[in-house]
Point group: C2
DNA sequence: GTCTATATGTAGATAGAC
DNA sequence: GTCTATCTACATATAGAC
């Protein structure tokens, strides 16, 4: 038992399916591609997960905490709005660097089936309430101008997520190569919070 | 000839295909659905456009001017950076209200085939150069802090496009109904330029 | 040009041997 | 549990009548 175990077949299927679904979306994903990427055979997918839909759910249901927990979590511990904004954007970008296609995938699938990935999102509810309180508190003590907390959160998510969603467009428009793009992304962990804070500071 | 003509079959196919492709993406779109929506029969699609790929190209090749011309055009005529930002965001949002699924579709398809929609994007090249000059000019005369024009443009596009791309998520996260969402979108024609300008003003 | 009917290809799903 | 072989369903594409 001291021997390092190979990842179980089920685990390898889930990992492979996750990559393929995120890369191609539900409609574009092929069971064959998942099988190939898991190093097994198509029939075995159906043995573990009855059909494509269930495989999809097996991958993404209940994975919300793992996917976004760290991002919403970054908000939770903060007592200062500006710190919260900085931590959120930084955590968001860090997470997306690991899985650059995730935001596009989620946008795609939520559009196809708004109920489907609801669990994906719900987990941050407490954190969002906390964030709204930080905004209100900062407004009361005159640290920021009068802004809508929901609008602000939309802007934070937009500025964090969009460079990943629009990656091919940005590469093309600005004639960037991989390295330049990656540099821009990393710099945005600093420039985006600055951008946001400058615009709301009283 | 004074009689009002029905839209030609080819035109109706293109219109229907456009709607279906934007709604479902290339992978998710079905020829049958296009045929139904055009009020004709599947075989006729193949008569006019040899296959699905060519239909897709027939819809989206060369349509760049129509799709984005008005947005880049909004930049072109401006001599003041702040006016340019306001006009761009406003034009972008107006355009997206007409076709709310367009930004998600483009992100999706550019990811699938980065070459495919290149023509879609290229048209704004002159406008982007003009925009970079406006940024530089504003910086020289001390109207704004030192910002990277490319980053700024990314932020403008992010703040304009993301609410459309993430619509289902925003509805869900903030517990909005259609009306509230629509109100927020329209208000963003004002709040987003304010947000941007505040953050770069010297 | 437009239709009905049909062929072809591909992907999801099952049967059954090992 | 894992494989090969096969079935079924569906989507794209074509043939041919009108």
């Amino acid at each position: 038992m001291a021997r390092v175990k190979e990842a179980s077949t089920e685990k390898r299927i889930l990992d492979a399916a996750r990559r393929v679904f995120i890369r191609k979306g539900m409609a574009g994903a092929r069971m064959q591609e998942v099988a190939d990427e898991a190093g097994i055979n198509k029939a075995l997918l159906h043995y573990y997960f009855r059909d494509k839909q269930r495989l999809f759910e097996g991958v993404f249901k209940g994975g919300a905490e793992q996917q976004f927990g760290c991002i919403w979590g970054a908000l939770k511990d903060r007592t200062d709005l500006f710190d919260a904004i900085t931590a959120f954007v930084s955590a968001f970008i860090d997470r997306m660097v690991e899985d650059p296609l995730l935001p596009l995938f989620i946008a795609q699938e939520m559009n196809r089936d708004p109920e489907g990935l609801r669990a994906f999102i719900d987990r941050g509810h407490m954190s969002r309430q906390h964030f709204a309180r930080l905004v209100e508190e900062a407004r009361v003590r005159g640290a920021i101008i009068d802004v809508d907390a929901r609008d602000l959160l939309v802007n934070m998510m937009a500025l964090s997520a969009h460079p990943f969603i629009a990656r091919p467009m940005i590469l093309h428009i600005h004639g960037m190569n991989e390295a330049a793009y990656h540099r821009m992304i990393l710099e945005r962990k600093r420039t985006v919070p600055d951008f946001i804070i400058r615009s709301i500071r009283a």
